[in-house]
Symmetry: C2
């Protein structure tokens, strides 16, 4: 029985509601964005009582479909002021789906300052005060909750979220209870913190409420997708062997790896911080180290890793491409150990490691510390954990840090720091950064696939030509994919292998009795984006927000010495449907 | 010979240009806003090389017309991200006008980090490096420049502007070289600082290049206006006797004096911090103390003051209503001495005292210090001067401070703190705050005149009815008035005394050979506002930005227990022309 769990933090109630027919074929981002648009006043304060935080598994989450364990978290963003969805792996999406929960909608605010955990199981849902984990990092929080509730899924916030820092993310635990999976972007952890909700603990023991209309067709389709994932070299070899950080060398080589606060596209320390280097370190150090680590059961790609310290104990799990870059190349830091230490601190404090790295780069530009000084960066990051005034600046993200110190070279769109691809050197992803309703995200319109990896066709990354269309196609397709629960990385296989695409769509059709085609993907993806854009317009954004930071129009980026030159009129066409 | 002085901080040149015909009948705000809209890319970084800072005397500045010494400063605002004009009294507007300068346009940025003064006189204009006043407060800056250049007009920035704090204002000196006149709002001091321009020193010795087409008609009209100002009780008695702070008791009585971060409309310490109390203190202490102090030659109202310390030495000049309220009632502080000390520090550091008081109120709400603790507030303010991380937070204004500490009760519109009238209790001025293109300003649509002071008619301040029209009428008329160089306070006389209005318009017609009527005022005022709105739309704002902070819609304000209930549709109609 599919249902919506409505959690009212004012009355401290958690009640199940029927799913309105209009939400039946929505999941993940499509559902979080629609509920936010339907229920949240766009001009409300994102940390006030009228924002809502929505958690939704994807359409096929909880099934045996491969790589279908993404959880979407949505709200009005405390970072951008616009609508936001961020999704993560980990074990929560499947467990929430197993309980027959299509979405959890958290609303209101406690009358008294108190932190709660929401416990959800077959027996029902209840809010429990958790003063004992107030102010605790995510590692201790997760350990405490497993000790109490068993091997539950945990969706939680660190002290950054409790402190309403607008760079706070939402953690979901992995199979070893590590907190390193994050719906990290857009400050959703602060939105959750503003509700007084420290964690959601989900126990799916004894229940698998995931009805599938045509199980046999589903099985066949899931196998088609699995086979394609096992066939494509990126998903079957590259990613499990080297992890996502394999991109460090690739992007640096392409001149598109933002280095030292987006002042160069090539990092001399790339090799030392690459996926290959991580794999070498894992092999050399042993201990807990591991490549080919899955973030949830049913993952057949296993792109993740566990990075060990020199003594073989845990340094950080995982170190993915984006944090590796943000805390590494973007800060001029080439020590994997320093990067892993910072990444661990981000995961523990509960801040977005990408935004944190961009903020640190800005702080270095401001002269607070030197580019390349890993030890100083770790010290500054510890101030975030300690909540000092300086920590509160950096903990608000890159745009905020820039303003505090008068830095104008600030790589943000709609107040959100740019991820690990330089718009001036990879112009399709740059087009996504600026036009996406959610600020500078890379996953939601990953033109890099075509521009750099030659997946789904080829495009010159340095040319502005055709980038409006390329970004639009990726954004529309991803708005659909983000609604399914599938990991974005299946796209390598579904773009290049027709049976993989058929399998992906086939699982959904088999599960819901639909007969969607590629046209439906476009229709649904466009509708999601329209909903998100409409919310932003009502929230106060006009198309003047869809622009690259000024310095990228004027300052040529080495080594190609190009500027961002996709014309404004082209940008305005991207989502004009 | 009317001309535009273009100051290029990259090339370090200052060159005179002819005035384009389209600018001939523009002055003050009309001219700054038009030049900004014509020359500044709306999506540029406000502290980057492509913003421009424009200084313009009004249409009749430099003449013998009474109270015509306002100087407008315009730019893309570092605080709001939209277009901004802020104007101030002091001696600069007249001197700039005497030199035949219609506007100064400052553009570019120095190639090397260096501070300059722009020296302007009959002999020409030149940029002079001034490393010796870098980092100096405005009091020392002004004293240094007078020692060097004689009794020049000084338009300058304190260390807040040098540090690019987005709450930095632009100071203009008064006849005693005090720096307490500020074009304070919107962070224009940071825009000036980003140009490397510490000060403009204007010497009008030996030149009076202010042509008047019909001198006799001008003389008659100016006298009509002067007579009206001398007749109206507000401009002839109330203001010179008690200063602008006479409003403290009036607004508290009306329940519209924002108290303790906008949590009440009535302040129990009103009487102790009122204009009457200032007058009493001036009388009792003597020394430099003075009421009825003019901010520029030719002022016949003389609403300003010099507040002495207990020993008769200078505490602050002036203490006006807005800073008195911001640093007083809004912080729950009822000591005039503490308020004067803080006001002095704001003037010296170069921050907007209004925004600073709103930021302090937010910091108190966050628990950093207690409401009412003047000593702690002074200490926190000193951190702004010292540039500590905490000082850099507070020095960015109220919205920034709120975000740093997770405060959601933040009285701002478009990122700018609200001045001294509570929107929930004085709904016409609230309507101005939210719809004005420049964020929450009071002067640019002073519906208070009608709602509280019964000038220009009467309106119930607590009722939302008719407030769209009332605000529109005031905004349109003020957009014109802000273009003339006249002080807003002439409106008391021009609204109530027909010959005063005739005199005001008559001076302009006599000077320029126009035959403008009331309809032209509307036409011109509307055009200025249209230009400003268009800039903001291109900069990224939609009408969702024209909204009151959420808490004011839901939280009733004592003592009247009213919320802000002017409907959104009404707000959207205000400037829809």
């Amino acid at each position: 029985m599919s249902k919506i769990l409505r959690v009212n933090m004012t009355d401290l109630t958690a009640t199940y509601e029927d799913v309105p027919e209009k939400y039946r074929l929505l999941g993940g981002r499509g559902l979080t964005s629609t509920i936010v648009a339907d229920e949240v006043e766009p001009t409300c304060h994102p940390l006030g009582p009228h924002n809502k935080v929505v958690f939704a598994p994807g359409l096929v989450s909880g099934t045996a479909a491969p790589n279908s364990g993404r959880l979407s978290v949505g709200a009005k963003s405390p970072l951008t002021g616009g609508i936001k969805e961020s999704n993560a792996g980990g074990i929560s999406s499947q467990k929430i789906a197993h309980l027959g929960i299509k979405a959890m909608v958290v609303e209101g605010q406690p009358r008294e300052k108190q932190l709660y955990a929401l416990r959800v199981s077959k027996a029902g849902a209840e809010l429990v005060p958790v003063p004992e984990i107030a102010g605790k990092g995510m590692y201790e929080t997760n350990a405490t909750l497993w000790a109490r509730y068993g091997r539950v899924a945990i969706v939680g916030i660190g002290l950054a979220g409790e402190r309403l820092m607008t760079n706070a993310g939402v953690s979901t635990n992995d199979m070893e209870n590590g907190p390193g999976r994050y719906a990290s972007r857009g400050g959703l952890g602060a939105a959750m913190g503003s509700k007084g909700l420290k964690a959601i603990a989900v126990d799916d023991a004894g229940v698998r409420d995931v009805p599938i209309k045509d199980p046999e067709a589903f099985r066949v389709a899931a196998k088609q997708l699995t086979d394609a994932l096992r066939e494509h070299p990126v998903t079957s070899q590259t990613l499990p062997s080297y992890g996502t950080a394999v991109l460090i060398n690739v992007l640096s080589e392409a001149g598109g790896l933002p280095t030292r606060n987006f002042s160069s596209g090539r990092f001399e320390g790339a090799a030392k911080t690459s996926g290959e280097a991580i794999a070498g370190l894992v092999k050399a150090r042993g201990g807990v180290g591991r490549m080919g680590h899955p973030c949830h059961p049913g993952c057949v790609i296993q792109c993740s890793n566990v990075v060990p310290r020199e003594d073989g104990t845990l340094a950080c799990a995982p170190v993915e491409y984006e944090p590796d870059w943000a805390l590494g190349a973007n800060c001029g830091i080439d020590s994997l150990d320093d990067i892993a230490t910072m990444n661990y601190l981000c995961d523990d404090f509960g801040v977005d490691a990408v935004e944190t790295g961009v903020a640190l780069g800005v702080a270095m530009e401001a002269g607070l510390l030197k580019f390349g000084d890993g030890k100083a960066a770790i010290e500054l990051l510890e101030e975030v954990g300690n909540g000092t005034p300086l920590g509160r600046i950096v903990g608000q993200g890159a745009a905020f840090t820039a303003r505090a110190f008068g830095v104008t070279r600030v790589p943000v769109v709609k107040g959100q720091g740019m991820p690990a691809y330089e718009p001036r050197a990879v112009k399709g992803i740059g087009t996504t950064y600026v036009t996406l309703p959610m600020g500078a995200d890379h996953t939601a319109g990953y033109a890099v696939a075509t521009e750099i990896l030659s997946v789904g066709g080829k495009a010159d990354p340095l040319s502005p030509a055709g980038k409006a269309e390329l970004s639009r196609d990726f954004q529309v397709a991803t708005a659909f994919l983000d609604s399914t629960g599938y990991c974005l990385f299946i796209s390598f296989a579904t773009l290049d292998i027709p049976s993989g695409f058929e399998g992906m769509l086939g699982t959904i059709n088999a599960m819901y009795g639909t007969s969607w085609t590629a046209e439906d993907i476009t229709r649904i993806g466009q509708e999601v984006l329209r909903t998100e854009r409409r919310f932003n317009e009502l929230a106060g954004f006009s198309k003047g927000m869809d622009r690259v930071p000024e310095f990228m129009k004027h300052e040529p980026l080495p080594p190609h010495n190009t500027v961002f030159d996709v014309p404004d009129e082209e940008l305005d066409r991207v989502l004009a449907f």
